[in-house]
């Protein structure tokens, strides 16, 4: 992780953005969004290997411009699927970090005849295996972060320079 305290370049960028005039700051934010939104969404989508992962994680994958910019994913609270019961904001951890697919859960179910019986089955079978490093968003972030960060610094420098030149 890049810590602002460790790099003078980043300190310059952060401080500069803080004290720039509002117009310029908004302009930089807009440029940050415009330039990075697409690649970030693509990166998340490229890493999402299953259709569900892509629906859950890549929905609402966007860059929140600011100081510092923030990569967001799985921010949609709009339910997906036929039953409209699965909301990406609620279920993303299972798709990003996987789950223990072999755990048996027991629950009660009413049969079509109205009898209640206990069901024991692996309810997490649909999720990928546990992976602490994440399947899509975090790898995508690791891939994108260096590029995005250096691009962000360059946008700040470039925009300030342009503004001063009166462009």
């Amino acid at each position: 992780m890049l810590r602002v305290g460790d790099h003078r370049e980043l300190q310059a960028a952060v401080l500069a953005l803080k004290q720039l005039p509002r117009d310029l700051r908004l302009d930089i934010n807009k440029a940050t969004r415009d330039v990075m939104n697409g690649p970030w969404k693509q990166a998340v989508e490229a890493h999402a290997t299953s259709p569900m992962a892509s629906r859950v994680l890549a929905t609402g994958a966007r860059i929140k411009a600011g100081n510092p910019p923030v990569a967001q994913a799985a921010t949609s609270s709009r339910a997906i699927g036929r039953d409209r019961r699965i909301r990406p904001v609620d279920v993303w951890p299972g798709y990003e970090f996987g789950a223990n697919r072999n755990v048996y859960s027991r629950y009660k179910r009413t049969s079509p005849n109205g009898k209640v019986h206990t069901v024991e089955r692996r309810t997490q079978r649909h999720l990928p295996n546990r992976n602490r490093k994440g399947y899509a968003v975090y790898p995508a972030f690791a891939e994108m972060a260096p590029r995005v960060t250096s691009l962000w610094v360059q946008i700040i420098v470039r925009k300030t320079y342009d503004a001063f030149e009166g462009k």
Partner: protein, 530 residues
């Protein structure tokens, strides 16, 4: 923290900024030190690469290793950034110097201007401020309104100066500058509002038409603490920055509207209540000064202006929200290739269906609960009869079975009672079930050889206490329990005779067939062509 996954690209920025008292000095230091960085070209590249190695280390939780490709890219980026860095430093130095000298000369002119035309200055300042604000309120962003606003400011602001010659110096030094700054402020404001509207629209869209999922109160909070009128260097008359909260607090004073009312209005699904409040505030203002008139005293005029600011702000918020909602609908409609009307209908239907479905589910649970309860009664009755000889002796397997059977009756009765209250049934209804279950347990217990008292105690220990009064039972166990027992015993008890399992099966099947699922699916057939 927003929901979903949020990863900042750079960590600890907030702490860093908080720890930095003077941003400009700090930036100076950093930029100076960047000079050294540029000199150490070799090490710099390595440093950047190292920096991103950190990402890799931290990828313990952040993800997979970054391969060589990326360090290459990083080095490329570092190379590219080097010439920029120099420009960066120069640009900042220059910007700072330029703004300093500009500020000096303008500031000097301002002071000179005021010295020259002291007698008109007070009037000028009031006029300029209030007209500019009025212009701000009526400003719609078109070229015409810019010109109008400018003329209005210029015309009114200098009205008090008498001879044109006297005002000329001041106008040159100050008037135009103030007017332009004010106009710029307005333009900024409009851009900002547009941007916020867009963000709000995205939230609306994500919520899929279900407003209750949005943090509308949070939006209001954010708006309240926004700085409405920043103190700029040329506004020598303004003491401090003013937030919306300051304005709103003053505006609602003595009007009977509380801040809580406004919060409530904001959290509602539509904006009618908010509009009502705004109308009320407008009425109050109209009493102070009818349209086109000034208030009687300066203090009243001040109050009028503040309230007007608050009204403008609130109206802007309302418009923002309405606009955002409209935008969200349009975006969603376009995405799904249908018209907004169809989408709205569909949302409403989806909501109705959801509610319906929930009711149905709950009703199903009541039915299931009752059937379960009856099942349990039948099964345990059979078991108790079978093991009747064993009594309730814990030391024999059959005795333990019997005690377990009593437990089963109790939990089935409690489940059934829970499902009734959950589905919106009355507590009395649920208590009737509990009382019935309690009586069953007591009857079965006495049949197994317990005394009446023992059976009652056992039923109580299984939790078969009518819910409403159970707290009293805890507080005053002795008498309360006695009363509860009486309550339980006085109830009408349906006693179901034992039936054979075959009969039970057919009875259950018959009952199941009689249950007509009340599920209604409202389908919308939507053509994708509009």
């Amino acid at each position: 923290m927003a929901k979903g996954i949020n990863i900042p690209f750079i960590a600890e920025v907030r702490d860093f900024l908080r720890g930095t008292k003077n941003v400009e000095d700090a930036l100076d230091d950093v930029v100076d030190s960047l000079d050294d960085v540029a000199k150490e070209a070799d090490t710099s590249g390595e440093k950047a690469a190292d920096a991103f190695k950190d990402v890799e280390d931290a990828a313990e939780d952040a993800g997979k290793a970054i391969d060589n490709k990326f360090s290459e890219k990083v080095e490329e980026a570092a190379d590219e950034a080097k010439p920029l860095e120099k420009k960066f430093k120069d640009a900042f130095d220059n910007v700072k110097d330029a703004s300093k000298t500009a500020g000096d000369s303008v500031g000097k002119n301002v002071n000179d201007g005021f010295d020259k035309a002291k007698e008109g200055a007070d009037e000028f300042k009031d006029e300029a401020q209030s007209t500019a604000k009025e212009a701000a309120a009526s400003f719609d962003g078109s070229a015409d309104s810019i010109a109008d606003a400018f003329q209005e400011v210029a015309a009114n602001a200098f009205a008090g100066f008498g001879p044109a010659g006297q005002a000329a110096g001041l106008a040159a030094a100050l008037g135009i500058g103030v007017a332009i700054s004010k106009l710029q402020e307005v333009a900024d404001k409009i851009n900002e509002v547009k941007e916020q509207t867009g963000e709000l629209a995205l939230e609306f869209k994500d919520a899929g038409g279900r407003l209750e999922e949005m943090n509308l109160v949070g939006q209001f909070d954010e708006w309240l603490v926004q700085i409405q009128d920043a103190r700029s260097w040329f506004e020598i008359w303004q003491k401090d920055a003013i937030t919306n909260l300051d304005n709103v607090k003053e505006a609602i004073e003595g009007t009977g509207i509380s801040l809580g009312d406004l919060y409530n209005a904001f959290s509602e699904n539509d904006t009618t209540a908010l509009r009502d409040y705004v109308e009320l505030l407008k009425d109050v203002n109209r009493e102070i000064a009818p349209d086109g008139h000034y208030a009687a005293t300066a203090a009243l005029q001040e109050e009028y202006n503040t309230r007007k600011d608050a009204i403008t702000g609130l109206e802007q918020e309302i418009e923002k929200r309405e606009e955002a909602e409209k935008m969200a609908y349009e975006m969603r409609a376009a995405e799904e290739g249908i018209t907004v009307e169809v989408l709205k209908q569909r949302d409403a239907m989806a909501q109705r269906n959801d509610e319906l479905q929930e009711n149905i589910d709950l009703n199903r649970e009541v039915i299931d609960g009752e059937l379960d309860y009856l099942d349990t009664l039948d099964q345990t009755t059979a078991k108790l009869q079978e093991n009747a000889a064993a009594g309730w002796d814990k030391n024999t397997a059959a005795g333990r079975e019997n005690l377990r059977a009593l437990g089963d009756i109790s939990s089935a009765a409690l489940d059934y009672a829970d499902s009734i209250t959950e589905a919106g049934g009355s507590q009395e209804e649920a208590n009737r079930v509990i009382a019935e279950g309690r009586q069953k347990v007591i009857d079965a217990g006495t049949a197994l050889g317990m005394t009446e008292q023992q059976a009652q105690d056992y039923a109580t220990s299984l939790g078969l206490i009518p819910k409403e009064v159970s707290t009293t039972a805890k507080a005053n166990t002795g008498t309360a329990e006695q009363q509860l027992n009486n309550v339980a015993r006085d109830r009408d008890v349906r006693y179901k005779p034992w039936i054979s399992t075959a009969d039970l099966q057919s009875a259950a099947n018959a009952a199941a067939q009689n249950i007509v699922s009340p599920y209604v699916e409202v389908k919308t057939y939507v053509s994708t062509r509009v």
